[in-house]
């Protein structure tokens, strides 16, 4: 057992993922299911403390370091890879599956990494894996994937600069809690925040994720943002700035999701929204808040994947993703609808779902610390979650109007994956003890008190009332909403084109001037030295004799002087 313990669990998924394309289909399907389970087993064999070292340049890397926080994230990542693999069994683009497993394995690599350089290596591997997942969707995703890669490479550069500065300043590689007091640490935080979907660059997420395939987005929703939540939990707990960044993300996600028409982009905005709750919890920084953020990351991965499986099933069966094209699908896809509704209730923190037992810890921490504004904003945001995701997604996709579409339920593997995650959403909601036992700090919190349950039911049900009363204002239109990505998709391109035109005009001016000067010089030379030039003219013999006489006369005169 101790010899197995030093196998880094993420490596199993990475190596397995790279081998997937070379396997025959039946074996590949088996491998898709067994690799995550083997990884999960290895995750639970990793003992506390540093386990595996490697030398890199002059540095001693800690590739594997276990504790409760790492184990919780690695556990839910492995679970996610399993359910995602099951859901994607009939995905024909094998490259996507290979990329997704490398991506998941790298995420597990990050959460077990014991030093900043190892974090960076796996961090960049995730960026590559996730970009390939997006690109696997085909030519339509090429540009979005490129924009995604550019933003994440920018994040990687910031992180690398920060890590280099931190090592130069402190002489240590260790990835531990940091105070935000030096420039390198600011850069590390900035690198982390880009991946978490923080402002001002949140737009990469709703821009890129919905362009991935029906199965791709299920994987994408889980790893990048939650790995970033993990590194913030590890590196910057209690950094007050994060409270305000988190609250901004919460409301950004709600408002943009309300305006959105694409069902998967609604869910993408709601990823930013939910991660905002976690970031706020990390900023609050008490044990209760950090437990809440950790627990919420765990339940979020499950219910968000469930929602995206439900949306992915609709996309797989109908080929449509806009709310204006969908509606009334409950008639022929009742299971997909029910699973989607379970995920929607869970994201809304409805009592008896996993969201209720995890998110409420963050609000509780804000209340205990008497952070009045934060608490009220979180409560308003909880109502907004029900509005933008809890009701909006199931309503516009499965009910609303009769779109006339009559798709069948998706294949068995997709149904099974949805049922598994729906069961986990309800299971952790009914019996939160199993989740609480995994948390980094001891839990002294009872979610099911009468006042809390009644408060939450009032909040959600009356939000539901507001939704149906204001349905006219929420009617979907064939529109998108401009975001910060407008700056690099429109303004940036216009600026580049204007610059290009400016350079062209300037160049034209320079070449014209050079031509003119050259021509003038040539003309002047020509004038004096050309066939008709004064200096090239043949002189008549008479004038030569005359000038010779003049010179001789002058000589004669001078010799007498």
């Amino acid at each position: 057992m101790s010899s197995l313990a030093v196998v880094p669990p993420g490596v199993v998924l990475i190596v397995g993922g790279l081998l997937l394309p070379f396997l025959e289909q039946r074996v590949r399907r088996l491998a898709l299911l067994l690799l995550p389970l083997a990884t999960l087993y290895l995750v639970w064999l990793v003992p506390d403390g540093a386990q595996l070292h490697a030398r890199f340049l002059a540095y001693e890397l800690t590739l594997l370091k276990g504790d409760a926080l790492s184990r919780l994230f690695a556990t839910v990542f492995a679970l996610m890879a399993f359910a995602g693999g099951l859901f994607a069994l009939n995905q024909e683009r094998v490259a996507e599956l290979a990329a997704a497993y490398c991506y998941a394995g790298s995420a597990i690599g990050v959460v077990f990494a014991g030093d900043l350089i190892s974090v960076f290596i796996f961090w960049e591997a995730m960026a590559i894996g996730s970009t390939l997942v997006i690109w696997s969707a085909g030519p339509s995703a090429r540009r979005a994937g490129l924009r995604y890669a550019a933003i994440h490479l920018l994040g990687g550069v910031l992180l690398m600069a920060g890590v280099a500065g931190e090592i130069a300043a402190t002489g240590t590689l260790a990835f531990e809690r940091m105070a935000l007091d030096t420039l390198p640490r600011g850069l590390i935080l900035a690198g982390f925040l880009i991946n978490v979907g923080a402002p001002p660059l949140s737009a990469w997420l709703p821009d890129a994720y919905p362009e991935s395939s029906w199965s791709g987005m299920v994987f994408l929703s889980a790893f990048t943002t939650k790995t970033a939540v993990y590194v913030l939990l590890r590196g910057f707990p209690g950094t007050e700035l994060l409270i305000w960044i988190g609250l901004f993300m919460v409301f950004y996600g709600i408002v943009f999701a309300i305006l959105e028409n694409d069902m998967r982009r609604i869910l993408a905005y709601s990823i930013v929204n939910q991660v905002g709750f976690m970031v706020t919890g990390i900023g609050i920084g008490t044990e209760m808040a950090l437990n809440g953020a950790t627990a919420h990351a765990f339940s979020h991965i499950i219910y968000k994947a469930l929602l995206l499986m439900s949306a992915g099933s609709v996309l797989y069966m109908t080929g449509k993703r806009k709310c204006t094209d969908l509606g009334g699908l409950f008639r022929t896809m009742p299971l997909t609808a029910v699973c989607g509704i379970v995920g929607a209730l869970s994201i809304s923190s409805f009592p008896l779902t996993s969201g209720f037992v995890s998110k409420s810890m963050i609000a509780e921490a804000a209340g205990t610390l008497r952070l009045e504004a934060v608490w009220y904003l979180l409560a308003a945001a909880s109502a907004g979650v029900f509005l933008h995701a809890g009701i909006k997604f199931p309503w516009f996709v499965f009910f609303q109007k009769d779109s006339g579409l009559r798709p069948a339920e998706p294949p068995w593997n997709m149904r099974t994956a949805m049922i598994l995650f729906a069961a986990l959403c309800v299971g952790f909601g009914v019996a939160p003890g199993a989740l609480y036992a995994l948390l980094p700090f001891p839990v002294d919190y009872v979610p099911y008190t009468a006042s809390h349950v009644v408060f939450q039911l009032q909040l959600l049900l009356f939000s539901g009332l507001a939704f149906f009363l204001m349905l006219g204002w929420l009617k979907r239109t064939l529109t998108i909403t401009l975001d910060v990505d407008w700056l690099y998709r429109r303004v940036g391109i216009s600026l580049a084109q204007a610059f290009d035109r400016g350079v062209a005009v300037a160049w034209q001016g320079v070449t014209a001037a050079a031509e003119r000067v050259t021509r003038d010089v040539v003309r002047a030379v020509h004038r004096h030295h050309g066939p008709d030039g004064a200096l090239a003219r043949p002189w008549p013999t008479g004038s030569m004799a005359f000038w010779a006489t003049v010179m001789l006369a002058a000589y004669l005169v001078l010799s007498y002087l």
């Binding site: 305006l259 945001a381 039911l457 939000s463 998108i480 909403t481 401009l482």
Partner: protein
């Protein structure tokens, strides 16, 4: 051909009646339970109910206003 029972007008009317009954029940049950407010407002009667619905109205209004400025046809970026 008759539509799915869930899509019939009579069902929808019954669902509304049930929904309103549930809303009234969760609002009124506030009188029967003990509250542990952190601040002042959160101890008022039916706090979750009025605060939740008011938040939604405000959020929808903000979204609507923002949409008026930032909405574009969804072919806007088609290159």
């Amino acid at each position: 051909m008759q539509d799915h029972w869930l899509a019939r007008d009579s069902t929808i009317r019954r669902l509304w009646i049930a929904f309103i009954a549930i809303l009234a029940a969760v609002a009124l049950v506030d009188l029967a339970i003990e509250h542990h407010p952190y601040f002042g407002l959160d101890g008022t009667f039916g706090f979750g109910a009025w605060f939740g619905s008011a938040s939604c109205v405000v959020l929808i209004a903000i979204a609507k206003a923002l949409g008026a400025v930032l909405k574009r046809p969804d072919s806007y970026y088609d290159e």
